[in-house]
Amino acid sequence: MSEKMLVNGNEAVALAAMDCHVDLGCGYPGTPSSEILDEFARLGGSAEWAPNEKCALEVGIGTALANGRSLVTMKHVGLNVAADPFFTIAYSGTPGGVVVISADDPGMASSQNEQDNRRYAVSAGVPMFEPADSQECYDFLIEAFRLADEFRSPVLFRMTTRVCHSKCVLNRHGRGLAPRKAEFVKDSRANVMVPAFAKLAHRRLRKDLHTMADLNEKGSWNKVIKGSSDLGIITSGISYQHVREAAPEVSVLKLGFTYPLPRNLISDFVSSVKRCIVIDEGDNFLADNINAMGIKVEGKDEEFRFGELNVTRVRKLLAGDNTPEPPAAPGKPPQLCVGCPHRKTFEALRDLDCIVSGDIGCYTLGVMPPFNAIHSCVCMGASVTVGLGMRKMLPEQEARKVVSVIGDSTFLHTGINGIVEMVYNRPATGHVVVILDNSITAMTGLQENPATGRKLDHTPAPAVSLEKIVEGIGVDNVDIIDTTAENEKFKELLQERLSSNDTSVIIARRPCILGAVKAKSYEVKK
């Protein structure tokens, strides 16, 4: 029973997950990956938001140790958070399948860096698929779970913004996988990674990767398009689409399973053409790895390492034109919404001349005029700890100006550890953390989080209390205030806390204006 539909890559992944009988979808929201789990839940799948990517992957691993299938979704930087379990589960593997979606963001449409997570596949020894459109998102996800079943291995499924968010025609053929049966077999040698067992597991992993490379030689996921023998292009993912349009006459080796690489397939292709160029978006991942095998190919110039590729840039690349691109016309930057509760908080921080250690979320837009009130931003949860480091280094007068700001979802993601650090290794001047609690994960599209009182599908859930967490850790002062309704009082409170040597958390609580409308609609639904 096949069905033709127009869907984006994220929707195609969710459809494939349904057709593979995935038992649990878990992840943390992050553009461009966020819609996968929402869609999986809408289709009837079991899906949940974890507090962070490490938790999500570990829950997914547990599901697969109990012989189930799990789909774990995150944006590229999320895999940094989940890297710890990712590297070790590569050794032990799981009887059920874990597929980890890494949604990379070349060009940084909505991210703090453009890291190329294909490097993680090599570094951890985890096989990797790279789909180029919605059809491949669907087909390759099924192949990924099939491979996981065969090798007990986790699989990295590397998507990019344009694959996630471009709609294309999908033939949902429905040839998926049979459901798996829940069971746990006690096998400590396989599943307990103490050194004695891990040494064996590492040898098994390297052996399996060789077997997978052999399997990859004949896989339907790679294809050769015969064209001119003067020029051949090796490519993967979205770059393939740009290549086909920019140079329809050349020969192309399009790789879908990009780690471990099929050596003979590549070598035969390279020998079949006079000149071979590798077109990678992001890092020279394929070019470096192919050259390292001793097969000579040309990579791209450094100029093309920045940002997304497109048809125009591929044409330039092929013409050997490495001149910098003219800057794109500056568009209107996004800004904090009119009526956003963060506005009044940032006005106060600006007026009090604070040094603000910021974090990841809508509120990073506090960096923009007229606020100019974010002075550092590194990664999820870093606001608290980076602020503590500043307090420790700066002379007292300056140290007293340092404030950390962090959103409710980000606080639950990786901010809690920072509060523990603050209480344990308190700076001489104490510290002040403002939790910008707008009661939703707003930046990524208004997802629920453990403090909203609703599950991923917006049905009721126990609400984690931010104030109880910080009180429990042992912070000296905990205050809750609506900085919009009581702006003067907030300023006074903030000044008082900054002038003391206490550790203080101020929870600035007022719902997101967009989130509040959504929250109402969920109540009506009940």
């Binding site: 968010h165 471009s166 709609k167 048809v311 125009t312 568009g331 209107k332 930057p333 800004q335």
Partner: protein, 157 residues
């Protein structure tokens, strides 16, 4: 390679840019074309520049319209013409709100469907199919008003 039709819609977050390309891409899909629709999510709800692209034909490869190759560029906010115009062909069609009967716009939120009406004159898609796709993408209570706005856009210029 056969001709690929390229339509780009630009505007500001909250103007319904993506709704226009959702409807248009669904209509061309219903006509049996190969189609790709591209956009960048993330910041769009916060008033920043937004643009979305629909490409259709016998076989479409890249989801992104190359610079200087758009047949139609429809811009919902006049300030965004400068930002988006690089995508338009030398002889391409530019449609801005100034080309629309704005005095008859009942609700600023329906500017996007009025624009879709204007776009409909330049795409080789039966108007009935566009209207079916429009209805499929909007709640029923909004159909009457939006169909009216579509007609006004279609009859403009």
């Amino acid at each position: 390679m056969s001709k690929i039709h390229n339509v780009v819609v630009a505007g500001l977050g909250g103007q319904g840019v993506l709704k226009v390309t959702d409807i248009l891409s669904e209509a061309v899909f219903r006509c049996g074309y190969d189609v790709k629709k591209s956009e960048v999510h993330g910041m769009s709800q916060r008033g920043g520049s937004v643009s979305s692209e629909v490409r259709y034909g016998e076989c479409v490869a890249s989801p992104m319209v190359p610079a200087g190759e758009a047949d139609v560029l429809a811009v919902l906010d006049i300030t965004q013409v400068e930002v988006a115009k690089g995508v338009l062909k030398a002889d391409g069609v530019l449609i801005t709100p100034e080309d629309l009967p704005l005095d008859k716009l009942q609700n600023p939120k329906a500017l996007n469907t009025m624009m879709l009406g204007a776009i409909s004159k330049y795409v080789e898609i039966p108007v009935e199919t566009l209207l079916e796709a429009l209805k499929a993408n909007l709640p029923e209570k909004l159909h009457e008003m939006n169909l009216e706005m579509f007609e006004l856009g279609r009859n403009s210029r």
